[in-house]
Amino acid sequence: MTDRPDFQKMSCPLPLMDHDSIQLAHGAGGLLSADLIDKLIMPRFASPELEMLEDQAVLTLPPGRVAFSTDTFVVSPIFFPGGDIGDLAINGTVNDVAMSGADVSALSVGFVLEEGLPMADFHRILCSMETAAARAGVRIVTGDTKVVGKGSCDGIFINTSGLGVIPEGLNLSAASMAPGDAVILSGTLADHGMAVMTVREGLSFQSTVSSDTAALNGLIKTILAAGPGTRTLRDPTRGGAATTLNEFAKASKVGIKLDEGALSVRPDVAGACEILGIDPLYVANEGKLIAIVPAAEKEAVLAAMRGHEYGQEAAIIGEVVADHPGLVAMKTTFGAERIVDMPVGEQLPRIC
């Protein structure tokens, strides 16, 4: 990208509105709805398709298979260090589509707003969505806004769907892994999950942990250029890296052997995990991916990833093996071996 905008300088002043918070009438389809769309939403999401203001976006796509994904974002709190529910909703769906290798082109956005949501908060979220979409190079082509009564949702919920065309000949699949393949992680573990957890109500220690939310479609292009034989890509969100790796091992009926010493966790994130008794392998990431790459291409992919802003700390964290099919094992820093299991449910802070 040569004409990339300077995101730091983007300004986003709140337009003058008649109400300082969302009213039920903002979702009723009348004048107030039109006001909200015209003054607040459209200036942030301008795209030729959206400006048609039809009931649907009509897209012309290049030939090929289409990857299509949807995700709904309900994170609490809606603002957290390093991001908010808005950029998370853009990046999350961009990443889900991009993990297929598709060229992500268009997104839909659906808002469920709670009556009383401060207009300034909604505007701030819209601005961060605009910035995230611009960074990812995707257009928002259709959308919807509903308002529900006080107490019916938690401030704001956002659904985003996205689609993109997969380049000819590319067929990434979690079922295609083979013994000898390298497991590459694009950076540090657990940043997003711990950023959210440390600011949730009730946890009063000071923390500098910041979410890693980022769109990885650029990094994926880099990976696929350096490693055309790449087997599969996935972003380890809910359930963390341990869950993604277990899914991989089961899908390909292979074992995965991790090297504990190769995993990296930022010191502040590690500290928060220690205090709460939580294992970073099971904590959500929103700007990381795991790539399974044939041994012959691993060094080239690793070097390419490290040259990209979202892959600077990429590392080979393990290997696909023929032993223990369906299981993930880890060589501990002490030289012993243990299972890395699927989590049972949400990780809960321990008593002591």
């Binding site: 500290g271 002490f334 012993a336 299972i339 802070p349 002591c352």
Partner: protein, 364 residues
């Protein structure tokens, strides 16, 4: 991270393992008391690295595991009341009672909230004068001072809408119960470092003398645990019962007198049921009569709820170091972390849960 990395240093660990191998003639059975230590042992694979002369067995020190079914059932009854804000540490929320858990009560509309400190529950009581705020006070001597402080604070503020369900347990009576059992095979203990931080290590000297066993207050990082094992092995090999402190950076002989004073002011020693083991005399703490206004079981009249433990699992034998998790026929089959049959599988700190998570025998 300072104070952590050096206690996870593979080179230091390697040196300690060599020393253990040189010192041991064995065979010795050593019990680590605390579930946090069990977790570290399994997570770092320490059990795989020790010489075959040393067998580690896992102790009763998981507060979630040993909280009796009855207490959970009483907590569930209180949490379901519409006038109650029910507060608990996170890992108690998933522990099943007879037919329910706190998460399910929450999903049916119960106001169940996770807190990180009992003082947060006191704050909720202050901010919600028209609601009853109840805290589920479980744990060993480690969490008792904070939980006692919550009542002290509520009393000082004149709050009448705060109360606790108290199911505190004490380590020394459980150690005596294990040592006095005819089937006991434990020859030395790694005592729980955090419990000793509060209570001091001198309360273990009478036990060490009476039963002629070495007791080594030990920390939770892998280097701590290896050093604790080394000290225990040296004491065993030299025929030296007694207490030797490994956790020097935290534990002193007298512990934390201020914390103990708060505990004594609010709680008093009582007999206590342990899930999977049964009644152990003098092994628990309850709210003193003069503080009865803060006793949720009395306040909400749930003392009539009495639950018998199902006799389908061997967690009692595991908690006493008589058996290992994978020696149970139900382990990993009928009994898993998603559908636990008993105490040691219900909490992530339980020995069965740690084995299930890190080392299902035969799978690797």
């Amino acid at each position: 991270m300072k104070y952590l990395d050096e206690f996870r240093d593979p080179q230091l660990a390697k040196g300690l393992l060599e020393e253990i191998k040189r010192a041991v003639t064995g065979p010795w059975v050593i019990m680590e008391i605390c579930g946090g230590q069990t977790h570290s042992i399994m997570r770092y694979g320490i059990d795989q690295l020790l010489p075959p002369e040393i067998t580690l067995v896992h102790g009763p020190g998981c507060p979630v595991c040993v909280t009796p079914l009855e207490t959970i059932d009483r907590a569930l009854a209180i949490a379901a009341r519409p006038d109650v804000i029910f507060t608990s540490f996170g890992d108690m929320l998933r522990v099943p009672g007879s037919s329910d858990d706190l998460f399910r009560v929450k999903s049916r509309g119960g106001d169940v909230r996770m807190v990180y400190s009992p003082l947060e529950a006191v704050k909720m009581a202050r901010e919600n004068p028209d609601r009853e705020v109840v805290f589920l006070a479980v744990g060993f001597e480690t969490t008792a001072p904070g939980n006692a402080m919550a009542i002290k604070q509520a009393a000082a503020e004149g709050l009448t809408n705060f109360s606790e369900i108290v199911s505190h347990v004490l380590v020394p009576p459980a150690m005596e119960a294990i040592l006095s059992s005819p089937a006991c095979r434990v020859q030395g203990f790694l005592a729980a470092g955090h419990v000793c931080t509060i209570m001091g290590w001198d309360e273990y000297e009478p036990i060490a003398a009476k039963y002629r066993v070495p007791i080594v207050p030990t920390g939770f990082e892998p280097v701590d645990i290896l050093e604790g094992i080394l000290k225990t092995v040296q004491l065993l090999e030299n025929g030296q019962p007694g207490v030797e402190n490994q956790y020097l950076r935290v534990v002193s002989a007298e512990g934390n007198p201020a914390a103990r004073a708060v505990v004594d002011e609010i709680y008093t020693v009582c007999d206590r049921k342990w899930r999977g083991i049964g009644m152990i005399p003098g092994s628990g703490l309850m709210i003193r009569d003069e503080m009865a206004a803060f006793d949720a079981e009395k306040k909400f009249k749930v003392e009539g709820i009495v639950t018998e433990e199902p006799e389908i699992c061997i967690s009692g034998e595991i908690l006493q170091g008589l058996k290992k998790p994978h020696e149970c026929p139900a382990f990993g089959k009928e009994c898993t972390p998603t559908s636990p049959l008993g105490a040691t599988m219900v909490s992530s700190e339980g020995a069965c849960a740690a084995y299930h998570k890190y080392s299902r025998k035969g799978l690797l």
